[in-house]
């Protein structure tokens, strides 16, 4: 009970959500842990057409984290709606569907298809997806960010969350544009661009050469970006990046995160959800505090 959280007008059982791309569409996680253990799930990013994803290998371990270059592998919106989404309907958890597109038109198309599905609680715009055409992620450019959020906001009745890239010089500026365009909340951070070289083979480790860094290595970056945004803007934030226990979750909560997203830490530790929720409850109990007391305490 102590962890119950109100976010975008919806009740979340706890402030824990599953980050996009980590548990696919949730079925396996449900069997292992139970979707009823989390406040919500953000589904693997879906695009208009199926995407096979990037060349192999797609993952590599690095110091304090990992690189991935999955490449938004997904079955496309039609198969997602017919084959994957119905499973989630039966579960009493909040459902956030992540979408990405190369153009605003594609995003609008996706948003329209999802708009009539009542049990979807919110959409997350993955603006940090690799855009091959302009070699840039939408959320690296404040104007592109505005355009994408604005276009989707105009057609959807769903709450809209913009997921931002950390690969920018001024994340607050991008965040401000997303908010101006009507984003109801922000998700950050997505992965940081990175490369791993195998010096023995003298080759790049990932098939795609570059990948995205996640894990504890990026947590200080994530905490700073959440902190910077929360100081400047009045907008709910879902914090991502290197959460591997209740202490890392608390770092984000103390700088104002509204929800915290579990990411690649779940790969090695399937018990992470329960550890974080039990850990947070214990912390609050021992400190005689409520979630509201500590949230944003350091702002």
């Amino acid at each position: 009970m102590a962890l119950s959280t109100l976010f975008l007008g919806k009740r979340f059982r706890n402030p824990i959500v599953l980050a996009s791309g980590i548990v696919g569409y949730g079925k396996k996680f449900d069997e292992e842990v139970g979707l009823d253990k989390v406040g919500g799930i953000i589904t693997k990013t879906v695009t208009a057409l199926p995407r096979p994803g990037n060349p192999l290998p797609r993952v590599a371990e690095v110091d304090s984290g990992m690189l991935n270059s999955i490449g938004l592998a997904n079955p496309g919106i039609d198969k997602f709606i017919s084959d994957q989404l119905p499973y989630l309907q039966e579960h009493k958890t909040n459902i956030i569907v992540s979408i990405a597109g190369g153009t605003s038109e594609e995003l609008v198309h996706l948003a329209l298809l999802l708009d009539n599905i009542e049990y979807i609680d919110a959409l997350e715009l993955n603006l940090s997806c690799p855009n091959v055409a302009i070699k840039m992620q939408t959320s690296q450019d404040p104007r592109e960010t505005f355009r994408a959020v604005d276009a989707v906001k105009a057609v959807t009745r769903k709450q809209l969350i913009a997921k931002l890239s950390p690969n920018v010089s001024d994340v607050v500026e991008v965040a401000r544009k997303a908010v101006e365009a009507g984003a109801d909340a922000l998700s950050l951070i997505n992965t940081l661009g990175g490369i791993k070289v195998d010096p023995v083979l003298r080759k790049f480790v990932l098939g795609n050469v570059t990948g995205g860094l996640s894990g504890p290595a990026i947590r200080p970056v994530g905490v700073k970006m959440v902190y910077d945004i929360k100081k400047e803007l009045d907008i709910p934030v879902i914090a991502h990046g290197g959460i591997v226990d209740q202490w890392s979750a608390l770092e984000y909560l103390l700088v104002g995160a509204d929800l915290i997203a579990l990411g690649s830490g779940l790969f090695k530790n399937p018990d992470l959800t329960e550890e974080v929720s039990a850990g947070l409850e214990k912390y609050l109990h021992e400190n005689g505090a409520t979630l509201a007391d500590i949230r944003g305490e350091l702002l």
Binding site: L56, R58, V59, E61, S64, F267, K268
Partner: protein
């Protein structure tokens, strides 16, 4: 009740040996509770507290309370395993993957088992389950860099004993200049093709085995390796592309593999 995913074991025996300048670790892990696995299935092993990802390893043997693994030291994860000692506790997840069907499926058929290098691990698991007299129709073709690998397996795994009842062709590349697939093809010329092939090893070898399967129209099973992150079908790191008739299918090696049926118009795209 959900099945526990994380298992904790204790290292009962740890043997390190080197062949052709490659280091191998034979780990025997004492486990709590009962685990069941079919050959081809694998576990995700934690290679230390500071490792962010687990590493997949095939099961070499699983009997009563003991799980055995044979590990080639390659990079940052497997190197850390070198410092583990007898009595240390280890954590692993699993049992993962699809594995082979029941052993009885193979009885009475003419079967070729083709293994290359570390590809012997799941094949060894399979073979050590056969009741020896049932093995008459089974030929094992096993290739390695050099004879020293066979000698090491003999010494540490009682390899010859386990394989006592089988017809086997050991193919050390260094000494014979031949690959295991060369020797297999020579065998087929003299004795005819098997009905079924089961193969595990480097991708180049699996590719030529698949070519043979396609040429002759027999059936086969290939055990594939992929880099993995979650090991349980969630992250999309480990796809295998399959051409089934006209259709391209993508399957994740960790859940829909690592054993893949091929033949009769169905093949893995390498």
């Amino acid at each position: 009740m959900k099945k526990p995913l994380i298992h904790i074991g204790k290292i009962a025996q740890r043997t390190v040996f080197t062949c052709d300048r490659i280091t191998y670790i034979l780990l025997k892990i004492e486990i709590q509770g009962e685990l069941k696995a079919s050959p081809g299935q694998f576990i995700m092993l934690e290679t230390g507290n500071d490792s962010y990802l687990d590493r997949p390893f095939s099961i070499l043997q699983l009997r009563e309370r003991e799980l055995s693994l044979l590990i080639e030291v390659k990079g940052r994860g497997t190197r850390k395993l070198l410092s583990m000692k007898k009595g240390d506790s280890v954590r692993f997840k699993g049992i993962h993957g699809n594995g082979l069907g029941p052993i009885e499926n193979y009885y009475g058929k003419k079967i070729a088992l083709i293994a290359g290098g570390m590809g012997i691990v799941p094949i060894f698991h399979l073979v050590s389950q056969f009741n020896i007299t049932g093995g008459g129709q089974i030929q094992l073709f096993f290739g390695a860099r050099s004879r020293s690998f066979f000698d090491a397996l003999d010494k540490h795994l009682q390899f010859s004993e386990v394989l006592g009842g089988f017809n086997k062709y050991l193919v050390p590349l260094k000494e014979t200049g031949k690959t295991v697939v060369d020797v297999f093809r020579e065998y087929v010329e003299k004795n005819g093709a098997p009905n079924h092939i089961l193969s595990c090893g480097p991708e180049g070898m699996l590719k030529s085995v698949q070519e043979f399967i396609m040429e002759t129209g027999i059936s086969g099973e290939l055990i594939l390796e992929r880099r993995m992150a979650c090991g349980r079908g969630m992250c999309m790191a480990c796809p295998v592309m399959i051409l089934d008739g006209e259709a391209d299918i993508i399957k994740m090696a960790c859940t829909k593999g690592p054993v893949f049926a091929v033949g009769k118009g169905r093949k893995v795209i390498f």
